[in-house]
Amino acid sequence: MSLINWNQRVASKRGLICVILISALAGCNRDETKVYNVPKDAPPPTQPEQAAAPETVQPAMPPPMTAAASIPPVKYQLPEGWQEKPPTDMRVASFTAMGPNGQTADVSVIPLPVVGRDLELINMWRSRVQLPATSDPDAVKQFEPVDIGSGQGRLFTFVSAQPIEGKGKQRLLEAMLTRDTMSWFFKITGEDAFVTSQKKHFLQFLKSVSFVENMPPQIADAPAPPVDSGNAGSIWTVPPNWRSVPPAQFLLAEYSTPGANGTKAEINVAAMGGEGGGLLPNVNRWRGQIGLGPISENDLPNIAQSLAVPDGKATLVDFAGTDAKTGAAMRTVGAIVSENGQTWFYKLMGDKQVVAQEKENFTKFIQSANYANVR
């Protein structure tokens, strides 16, 4: 073997070893637990919130789309038989489709920042017609392409398996179009047969939509207007003898009102999408809190009465029991309000006498609600 050949073989072996070493070193340290010291985390900046005024409850954030709502950012041609409603909540346009025999369907246009995963949206829409959630990834592909203005959107159809609230099967048509950073949701919902008959009008409506591209900059760029510290912009009018306390988890608002000899009653409010679990399970949950056993659906009319509220329907329940810890006489007055796809839970609970004194204030408080200010 010549010297040059030997050198060449050694060199090529070195090359091989180098490559293997690089690979081995790079592959190391991948599954090892790391231990290190870091400075303590600074608390994150809080999301902007407005402090609740003592007399009123303010929405925590300025209403979305407020700036845009004063000039609707969409134009459209109204189909025959549709009536325009004032935009509320997050809707920039809202309509009622009227049938010849008094049938109605609700139509809405809602813009939102590009949101979540499509399957989550599908499941949210399914829940609105009481269909179970699906994990089938193909569910997102089950749409019809539709023309929404000059763009092409997706139209999803959902039909309830059972009649809902005694109104027959419900059908929901949800069209969706994503433009830049916004998703636009166009919805028609109502009784199955009527919405089916309205589909052609809905498609015409979608096609007629045009987006206002040249919104005046002073409006597009204007910050959301501050919420009035008076009643405008507040949700409820709170009785003067109620003291606001920091709401516990999942509650929107909580108050306390004192009685004689250190007794008190507490008032709290929560909200949920859809039916929020239904009337009976919630009534039984409240009964359990003051040591009462559950009741059946048949017993419900005996303790429930309807309550007039300006927007939606409400059911009031009233029952007395005892505090499980102290044995003191307790009473609960609860109200469940269905409003625009949401359910609001109001509860007045505490000492029997204080609850009796406050029941009138409580019902006035519920009736004072202005749900348009919630979002």
């Binding site: 090359g15 090892e32 231990v35 925590a60 591209e213 949401q342």
Partner: protein, 415 residues
Amino acid sequence: MIKIFISLQLTVTLLAFAILLVFIGTLAQVDEGLYNAQARYFRQWLIFGLDFFGYHVPLLLPGGYLIGTLLLLNLVAAHLYRFNLSASKIGIQLVHSGVILLLVGQLATDMLARESQIHFVEGQTRPYAESSRSNELAFTTDNGANGEQVIAIPGRLLANGGEIQNANLPFKIRVKSYWENSEPTFRAPMMKNGPPLTPNGVANSFDFRLSVETKSMDEKNVPTALIEFIGSNGSLGDWVVSSWTTDEEMIQGIRQNYEQQVGPQMAGKIAGQLTQPQSIEADGKKFTFALRPERIYFPFSLQLLKATHTVYEGTDIPKDFRSRVQLRNPQTGEDREVEISMNHPMRYAGLTFYQYQMDAGQAAREAGRIPSSVLQVVHNPSWLTPYIGCGLVAVGLTTQFMFHLVGFLSKRRAR
């Protein structure tokens, strides 16, 4: 033996396999997604079977690592074996050196390069970046004047199941379930709920369930695990740990989703419940723990001063995304403002910070969110090798060409 390594037949065979691999790997991205296809075909020594148009083909093929390594060996061996230091061959030597550098550089990039992201809202300071694909189970405990001690267990170890021990933790971790992808559902008190996964921590407020693993580039898997802590005196309870509770991008998605259903106020509370820290006490020490995106700490910090999203006037077409950050490095005493915008990254400490995402436009303002920004952080120690490699090849080819040209012209003149 040496003849095999220096043979041109080996080069041609390996290049043929490389072409085949690129073809198969490119098609596989349709069904398996980019990252899975890369891992299965290119970051492999051997490929056992492949899926082609829905059919499984039982074939044994060399993977990307094997092809690259053999090509490198082939080139190095041929280069050394035929090495001849003469002026007429200097161009060839340079070309070979350039190609070798390209191959080695690519291997080093694949093995050493790391991408991560910094998510922050205006006013927030971040001394670390987070991986978008890897997670870790991190335990944090007070360490007096040294700040906090972090014990970070890679998510891959959780995925393996079994029991995990670490000398810094006074308990063992038993992995009872691990889901690579999961979905959370809020356990609303007004709804009929089944029993929680465990009566501890976040499981009281949220149910988590297994979800189909995503392979899409637009989505990511969010893992969840059910773990049990076992101290010296027995079990310390079962806990759910989930990246849903720590991944800021996903938390924002949940908040926005619930905003539609229950309004922003309630959605804020629901998101607050999801992100509530979980902790246990063992041997007199409190450990806060979370499954979170893997963190890479820097010896410096960045504070987001201002996130600016501008659009072309009269339209909502994005014109510019710009983050003004304060760079502070206590080791060097630096404390200065830097602007990072599209196509104008910041290069600092061997890292490159690109403007990646932003939530600072009209939609964020209207929803009342604090403007936020996401920077992509790229660490690639071998980023120069392609430039040097290509330079060597160009110089080599030019030299070789000029050498032949000069020789040709000289001969012609002589005639």
